[in-house]
Symmetry: C2
Amino acid sequence: MKKHILIVPGDGIGQEVTAVGKKVVEKIAAKFGHEFTYDEALIGHAAIEATGDPLPEETLVKMKASDAVLFGAVGHPKYDNDPSAKVRPEQGLLKMRKELGLYANLRPIKLFDELLEASSIKPELLKGADILFFRELTGDVYFGKRERIDEGNTAYDTMIYSKYEVERIARKAFDAAMTRGKKLMSVDKANVLESSRLWREVVLEVAKDYPEVQLEHQFVDAAAMLLIKDPRKFDVVVTGNLFGDILTDEASQIAGSMGMLASASIGDSTGVYEPIHGSAHDITGKGVANPLASILSAALMLDISFGLKAESEAIIAAVDATLKAGYRTGDIADASTPKNMILGTDAMGEQILSRI
Amino acid sequence: MKKHILIVPGDGIGQEVTAVGKKVVEKIAAKFGHEFTYDEALIGHAAIEATGDPLPEETLVKMKASDAVLFGAVGHPKYDNDPSAKVRPEQGLLKMRKELGLYANLRPIKLFDELLEASSIKPELLKGADILFFRELTGDVYFGKRERIDEGNTAYDTMIYSKYEVERIARKAFDAAMTRGKKLMSVDKANVLESSRLWREVVLEVAKDYPEVQLEHQFVDAAAMLLIKDPRKFDVVVTGNLFGDILTDEASQIAGSMGMLASASIGDSTGVYEPIHGSAHDITGKGVANPLASILSAALMLDISFGLKAESEAIIAAVDATLKAGYRTGDIADASTPKNMILGTDAMGEQILSRI
Ligand SMILES: CC(C)[C@H](C(=O)O)[C@@H](O)C(=O)O
Ligand SMILES: CC(C)[C@H](C(=O)O)[C@@H](O)C(=O)O
């Protein structure tokens, strides 16, 4: 198969882990006889430094021209405490999502058996947990109008949804529920928010086309609680952009670490595959970041964008075998992990490569 | 001491647990020689049924005229799947918060040692966790303009903060931090939201008056993750209305159960004390609801609104002794709890009363 892949490492540990993710894709291509070509592009702080723009036109053109994007992370602490900064790394990320029409962000939360002890949640409550989040990614308060008013003394953001936006993500989630346990939880705050009432209205409407799916509604506060209390109660979850941001980060603790979680952003055009972790400047440059989220993002890319199921499974099997062999990065090590089995980013990558 | 207390049970288990909370206050009054008088008023679904209004004028007048309000919960499932309902129980709650100027919602998250095993989080990560949340309660997307537009096909809510609103809650949180570990975490989403950037700006400004307090900022998604990963890292937390709603429900798992968590809402006028749990219609009428959150809310009322520290501590000591004696409600029982030690709402109340 011939495919053109754009590598967009972004900022911080995004650089380090995406380099490893790319190597894994190259190994798969060699082993399965595919012809993958690669290009690279800037985004986020890295792009601001080079061009002044967090999403340069050149990057966007390259994205649209490729078959898939392997993405790292964006962000830089220098903007975080400077509320007046006009240009910010995250603007690049949000603009990319909007311009590529990436309205569905799939975040599978699955615990590798070997990591049962790495989580802060009791193993007996976790074993078998397997959740698939559908986070809406191009609407909500991320894209509504925002402004300073009242001589700068007041600020607002607009949480906004239109019916067609809810419908298309709801359909994707119901479709996925049909291929899994036929259970779907929709999360909103319909007891307070009008945008949530619209959300619930549309989900109830779409549900009529899926009579076999058992639909449940939860308020976001209750869902945040239940996720920790009883993670196995969750199967497929669909929610808005902001609630999805919060709940999936929280759910990372079910998988032991943020460093394990991959995501797929899909929609109208090129799919983007990225770890759910951020740029993590506190550990950037130390060579200790867990590359498995990027590697598993590459597996999602092969499966979802290219339909290469066997190739995708070869990666997951290599991750599983490496964990079974006892290798860990710092974030997924526990008290019983021998020091010499705790690997850095590249060494962990080598272990995976050697098992493909 | 003479005080007038308004009992507002509201809906569902609010009725059952507040009745027990009131008995505990009566016992304290008798034992410590205080003269407390009581009145009762309607709110929520109960008030809609009786008057058509979720917060009747009479209730509001009574609230303003009393020294403190012991509150239950509001909500009813019949409104949840009816996005078109114009009158809703929650409107009563929100109007009460606004009319009484209850801008600071204090939610202490503390684990009773005896409940270490009741949580889904590993005991070794929990032991000693002690968090005090300051949730802003009269601003944010709860009170911004909301509307259906575009012939009903689009809905929006407005997430909005003004500087004075952030400043007053930030000061309360910094003050509390000074009396505790001198650590404060402010939670926002300043990498995306303008209202969060204003939030952060003001918190940084107020921080100048508290040079001894170690201030940390976290994005809400990261905070939702860290709360489970490492609950002991948290001391005092200050955040907006929506993020506070989500994070404190999540944090209830640190205390073993929602049924253990009390809250105090304070501001310009009468303080309101209430469990953080909701009306829980799934268990309403069964007599199994945990009354400890209401009892501990009464303890907060005696302490914060009346300055009766010894009386407040007498309640907490009674709860502690009852748990030490092995008594549990269903929500905080674990596999090792003998059947005959699992009590219903009233029986648990009796155990507490007998220890005051
Ligand atoms: C970096 C940030 C803007 C982003 C988001 O909030 O969407 C990130 O947290 C994510 O989840 O991809
Ligand atoms: C009932 C609901 C409107 C309320 C809120 O969201 O504030 C509740 O969840 C709470 O936390 O008191």
